[in-house]
């Protein structure tokens, strides 16, 4: 027998493991992951309440500070919050 044919037979003999199959729920899992996630109405209320309370508490805590400190805090805090928000969304989307 020719070497190429022998190797052909040897490969057929060696690669006899069971061929794996995709699990039945594959499509559903993928589609669930790509579906946009939306907050429930209760979740929206909680987030809105948190924002209002946090804003009120921040204003009250900063009431005696000089304007320069407030400007500096906003200048640093805003981009940090924006980056964290984008990163969080990407993380949630699995990107």
């Amino acid at each position: 027998m020719h070497d190429d044919e022998l190797m052909d037979q040897l490969l057929r003999d060696a690669m006899t493991a069971e061929v794996p199959q995709l699990s039945a729920g594959f499509d559903a899992r993928v589609l669930r992951r790509v579906r946009p996630r939306r907050l429930t109405p209760a979740g929206r209320v909680v987030i809105a309440a948190y924002i209002l309370i946090a804003a009120a508490a921040t204003l009250w805590l900063m009431r005696d500070l000089q304007v320069t400190w407030i400007v500096a805090a906003v200048a640093i805090g805003t981009p940090v919050a924006a980056v964290a928000s984008v990163y969080g969304r990407r993380l949630a989307a699995g990107r």
């Binding site: 022998l6 190797m7 057929r12 690669m15 995709l22 499509d27 589609l31 790509v34 946009p36 699995g94």
Partner: protein, 200 residues
């Protein structure tokens, strides 16, 4: 009149890939993407399995899922310069290689006892052990080949893919695939000889 969701999904089955991609991009249509997943999950999974090999085949489903998610996120940047199939198979190939590079060091050790227990038609225990060792050597030598040869060999010999199917998955002409298979067998023959195994 607007179609019901199942009727809409059924109407997508005859649409070309490009139309479905456009639909996903314009409306974020879940049914259009579901149709793309239904069309490509099998080939993507097989390609991933062929790259990962027998030992890491359980990771192929994760690769297939990651590929689908990446495709969904990148649909906006798909310019249609290549066919959708070519694009998704390229993503699969690269993703499977990344995963393989990550998991290759957790390869389980297969003992001679385990190899000797493999079912073979030979009755003589010595022949059985020799055969099992030779088959193990073949699989080890396959691992040393260039990735594209490994993939072509596994698709052909393990997953039973035709040359035409391999050509589509690897985005290569059929003659090139035949050449991959031929060169891979020659290289294997040489590697086996280096290890002291005769193909006969």
């Amino acid at each position: 009149m607007p179609q019901s969701a199942p009727a809409e999904a059924a109407s997508y089955a005859d649409r070309p890939d490009e139309w479905l991609v456009e639909r996903c991009r314009e409306t974020g249509g879940e049914n259009a993407f579901a149709e793309l997943v239904r069309r490509y999950r099998g080939p993507v999974f097989r390609l991933a399995v062929s790259i990962l090999g027998q030992e890491f085949a359980p990771d192929a489903e994760d690769v297939a899922q990651d590929v689908m998610l990446r495709v969904h996120h990148a649909l906006g940047s798909f310019r249609g310069e290549a066919k959708f199939g070519t694009w998704i198979y390229r993503i699969t190939f690269n993703q499977a290689l990344n995963v393989k590079a990550r998991v290759r060091y957790r390869a389980p050790h297969v003992s001679d006892q385990a190899l000797a227990a493999l079912p073979t038609p030979d009755r003589d225990p010595y022949d059985r052990l020799q055969n099992a060792r030779r088959q193990q050597a073949v699989l080890a030598c396959v691992e040393e080949l260039p990735e594209v040869y490994q993939s072509a060999l596994r698709l052909h010999y393990w997953l039973g893919a035709s040359v035409g199917e391999i050509a589509v998955l690897l985005d290569a002409p059929e003659n090139t695939v035949k050449s991959y298979l031929h060169r891979a067998r020659r290289l294997l023959h040489a590697r086996l000889a280096e290890r002291g195994f005769d193909a006969r």
